[in-house]
């Protein structure tokens, strides 16, 4: 089966990859390499470790395709493997992860440009929030990252975190409460 834009759909690619089709799996890697690397980066805080973690995770995911539930969404399943790989790497690095932010200018708000004052305030807000995130536990950081950095749906978060959908809400709510607490300190 192919999508309207001519791309084969995810289930078809997964099925072909399960049968050992490297081209199909290469297509899946291309499709999800961005989010996989971002996930690994959020966890490791190190660009080269993130790339290595993503690569290892793709290889592990390929070998584990036999255990993948046919018809299930591939992306959250993959992200769970990526996260495990990145967490292991971060542990062996022996330090907490701190993400770095780009200096890219802020996007215009509606039809007007961002004023220098607004840009400075936004930069300061990002700095404060990132500093607070750095002080959170890993599981809190992960659930916040999945929601706001990677824009995963609740269903995807549940699959990626390996928890029930209802648990995602409570876990995210607790993580946000702890983030606020840390920001108040």
């Amino acid at each position: 089966m192919t999508l309207p834009d001519g791309q084969p759909d995810e289930h078809a690619l997964v099925e072909r990859a399960r049968r050992g089709d490297g081209d199909a799996y290469g297509e899946l890697v291309t499709r999800y390499q961005g989010i996989a690397t971002r996930t690994a980066y959020v966890i490791t805080g190190d660009a080269s470790e993130a790339e290595e973690a993503a690569q290892d995770a793709f290889v592990k995911a390929y070998r584990a395709l036999g255990r993948f539930r046919a018809g299930a969404p591939f992306r959250p399943w993959l992200l769970r493997i990526v996260a495990n790989e990145a967490i292991n790497r971060r542990k062996s690095m022996g330090r907490r992860a701190t993400v770095e932010l780009t200096e890219a200018s802020d996007r215009p708000q509606g039809d007007r440009a961002v004023s220098p004052e607004e840009a400075a305030l936004a930069t300061e807000t990002r700095r404060v929030v990132v500093a607070a995130l750095d002080r959170l536990r890993e599981d809190d950081r992960l659930v916040i990252s999945y929601r706001y950095f990677l824009d995963l749906s609740e269903a995807e978060m549940a699959e990626a975190l390996g928890v029930a959908r209802g648990t995602v809400k409570s876990r995210l709510s607790r993580a946000m409460a702890r983030l606020r607490e840390v920001m108040r300190d």
């Binding site: 490297g22 890697v29 390499q33 961005g34 780009t102 990002r126 990132v130 983030l179």
Partner: protein, 249 residues
């Protein structure tokens, strides 16, 4: 800079803004690198529940009807017993018990549990099989009065499994004509299986099923004794089986 606390909406917006500014690496040629690493391998087959992990040849043992699944499972540490709708009689399976040895040779190398029951003190044949799953010792007893030949051709067969019992080592599929009861042997949990023949196989430490062990078995008592899983297969009554089990030291 002193500032007021962010509202929920502002905090959420700030987090999304951070996501947009992450200095995450842009992966380059990741697909090629992954493909280079997977070129010599294939996805590993799924590790399925006992019933569905059987090779086609093994399926001759089973008649799996609608709804037959691993739901009806009886467990003792290291053992899973499954209810199946029917067990059909297969062509006789060659019995592979491992390498033939002697009790004395085995005692020098290992500490097999030995029965003090007169009838079971000296096995007629002794076998050992060493694998990643641990060591398996088999005592085989020839048929004699009071000990008729079972599906194995022996009067009794005692298997001792010294591998880790954390993962299930032994699987048993029993049909409706077979009675399965929980029991206790010297304070340890056990299982008594009696009636029509059931099928039996074991799984190694990697979780792989050893097809050569897939065969029909007769009345069987399984129990744990000081970290060893012991299986007595003999066409005797439950009481006699418990007596024999209690005699193992």
């Amino acid at each position: 800079m002193t500032r007021r606390p962010l509202t929920d909406a502002e905090l959420e917006a700030a987090l999304r803004d951070i996501g947009a500014h992450l200095r995450a690496p842009a992966p380059t040629q990741l697909a090629q690198r992954v493909r280079a690493r997977i070129v010599v391998t294939r996805p590993e087959p799924a590790r399925r529940p006992w019933l569905f992990a059987l090779a086609p040849a093994a399926l001759t043992l089973l008649v799996i009807g609608a709804g037959a699944a691993a739901a009806d499972v009886i467990r003792v540490r290291g053992v899973d017993v499954f209810r199946v709708p029917a067990v059909s009689v297969p062509a006789r399976q060659p019995l592979d018990l491992g390498e033939r040895t002697t009790l004395d040779a085995l005692r020098a190398a290992a500490q097999p549990r030995v029965s003090s029951d007169t009838a079971f003190a000296r096995p007629d044949e002794v076998y050992v099989r060493r694998s990643a799953a641990g060591e398996q010792v088999y005592f085989a007893y020839h048929p004699r009065p009071g000990l008729p030949a079972g599906p194995t051709g022996y009067g009794a067969l005692v298997g001792q499994f010294s591998g880790s019992l954390d993962a299930s080592l032994i699987g048993k599929g029993v049909g409706p004509g077979t009675k399965v009861e929980s029991t206790v042997v010297a304070g340890e949990p056990g299982i008594w299986i009696e009636g029509e023949a059931h099928f039996f196989f074991y799984r190694d430490a990697r979780g792989d099923i050893h097809q050569e062990s897939l065969r029909l078995a007769g009345n069987t008592l399984l129990w744990q004794h000081r970290g060893t899983l012991i299986r007595l297969e003999a066409q005797v009554s439950r009481e006699r089986a418990l007596e024999i089990a209690a005699s193992f030291r």
